[in-house]
Symmetry: C2
């Protein structure tokens, strides 16, 4: 049976990318070696690094004056690196927007390195919406926000105008839609959603912000060291970067971020339409802030959750259980997920509502 | 032409491991998904984590009271993590042995977090030997050493007896020979030598040492967080861990560390014999400290370096150029490298010495 992978990350990747990645694990063209065996200082891998950076710059339209860095440790490592680099020793306060589970983690890490001012929070409303209409102090070291809340299923469709550096965790919606990089001083993203497999972190940072750092930091926690060494101060995660390059090539061939954004919108619209129409389900997030990447929804009768989950799994749906602290359901609609998978899910929801029985839909 | 990969890391891996890894990138048995797409919270991957830890414990005979952790960032990240966890806030001095390029880096990072006492150094002798006969202060926070110097080609064949916690960077010789884990309080190793592909770091640490930490640390830099979350506080490098598991299984099937140690000894002996015998070459490292993993050697007439390198490359040798700051040659003989590759290299050296001409050896 065909699987439809709605996992929140690591997540579905295009079949052609998986094929090419598998072939390179056998042998990387032109080297006679596996991609797992090549030296990161070899000309073959230098091309991969350069090519991956070029694709990032092209797909996101990264302006001059920004560096593109590849790190390890995921967004969670960025929670502390951002504060170590830009809050610690600044004598300033950092402003954070609290809009979900990962915002909370970012705030907690920043508090180890200085004063943190939370400009607004939707915690009391179970993070069902993105706070709006808050003030960002003009003397803050920076303002930090999370563009897409993977767990709660909300997404920021506009970013505040502010004179302080805007730092954004875009882990779960980077490369899914057009953003104006000029507005941001630093963007970070764990790779394992729309960029590639787990094990690599992307950072796009304004050089002027890096140049403002005045204190010494451990090499591996200092963005300047990555910039000075083209992200090869030490051995980078070779395979994760290679697979990301393949995936970004695929995205470019599809027409880039603008083209995929249209597809992503159609996928999300199709699923939200069914959630809104189907008498058994309702969307968890406030309508204006509904994420196009992570669609969270519930059953009016929560006692049916287990039965519907089983029914969906029996029909090939993977990864639709809601996050453990949240419950309900979550379908992640990342770039690699085809519309046909979303259609398969809405068919499940329809049939389940019509029959109430857990049986296999013949078509799947 | 068959390639013989003497790269210092990332490095040669057994062909069967590469085959299995490639197959899993296509589809991981039992999941219907690629190993790059599976959730790190799925039962399939939990088995991988448990299995990898079990193999580490079994192959290295890790005693009870030690945790086995999987991190990211390579040994370079450990340089600062060790000091952040065990020197910072301790009010003590950390003792370091300076025996090579990576010792220097470890010392530099530690100095950011407290006082460092270098017990001995072979810097003045270009790190051609491992210092011996030094004193380790009994009140040091810990003693840090590097068991194998990848760049200089020296290896520690005995470790000092000390009452302070012994911390060791075993990046380039872990799993290559038997060590008594009981002697160590913490061992770390970047994976990309004898464990698997780049992108994962192994830490084996005594629980009592972790329990002695009294200060707060960022989550991703706190060993206790990895212990408390079975190395899944955030998304781990799924594929790197999976490939490491395959490689450790291969090692187990070969007879484990004791068996591979015999092979490694035979490979190194064969190459050092040729270096000692061949009138054109000499070994860089002091005889007693010659590394079994990274064999460094030079030509008496350095003006011949380029010609011999070309000759060797034309015969399929990969990665034998010495490290850029050191020069000469280096052949890394990690677990995955077969004896036949070492034989191919010594054949090159023999033929080159006999003919002085750069031509293809018919056998390769």
């Amino acid at each position: 049976m065909q699987k439809h992978n709605f996992g929140a990350g690591p997540c579905v990747l295009p079949p052609s990318v998986l094929e090419e990645a598998a072939a390179a694990v056998r042998q990387l063209p032109g080297t006679g070696l596996s991609v797992l065996e090549i030296s990161h200082r070899s000309p073959g891998f230098e091309e991969v690094m350069i090519g991956t950076e070029r694709l990032v710059r092209e797909l996101l339209n990264v302006p001059a004056g920004y560096s593109v860095l590849f790190l390890q440790g995921g967004a969670s490592m960025q929670f502390c690196m951002v504060a170590m680099n830009f809050l610690q020793g600044s004598g300033k306060t950092a402003a954070y927007l609290d809009a979900g589970y990962f915002s909370v983690k970012a705030i907690k890490e920043a508090q180890l390195f200085g004063n943190v001012h939370v400009v607004a929070s939707s915690k009391e409303q179970q993070y069902g919406h993105i706070p709006k209409g808050y003030d960002i102090p003009g003397d803050a070291a920076y303002f930090h926000c999370t563009s897409n809340n993977t767990i709660e299923g909300t997404e920021m469709f506009s970013f505040p105008e502010t004179g302080v550096p805007l730092i954004c965790d875009m882990s779960s919606d980077i490369f899914s839609r057009d953003v104006d990089i000029n507005k941001f001083s630093l963007i970070y993203a764990g790779a394992q959603k729309n960029m590639g497999p787990a094990g690599m972190t992307l950072v796009i940072v304004k050089d002027a912000l890096l140049d403002s750092i005045g204190h010494r930091l451990p090499a591996m926690l200092d963005y300047r060291v990555y910039r000075a060494n083209n992200s090869m101060y030490n051995t980078p995660p070779v395979f994760a970067i290679y697979a990301a390059m393949l995936n970004l090539k695929w995205l470019k061939e599809k027409g880039g971020v603008q083209a995929i954004a249209q597809e992503n919108l159609a996928k999300a619209q199709h699923l939200y339409d069914e959630i809104d129409r189907n008498p058994l389900f309702y969307a968890s997030a406030s309508r204006a802030d509904r994420s196009l990447m992570n669609v969270t929804f519930r059953m009016h009768d929560a006692s049916q959750d287990k039965k519907f989950l089983e029914f969906a799994q029996n029909n090939g749906m993977v990864g639709i259980r809601g996050y453990r602290t949240v419950g309900g359901f979550r379908a992640s609609l990342y770039n690699g997920l085809p519309f046909s998978s979303v259609k398969a899910l809405t068919d499940c929801m329809k049939v389940y509502a019509e029959t109430g029985h857990a049986y296999l839909i013949p078509a799947y």
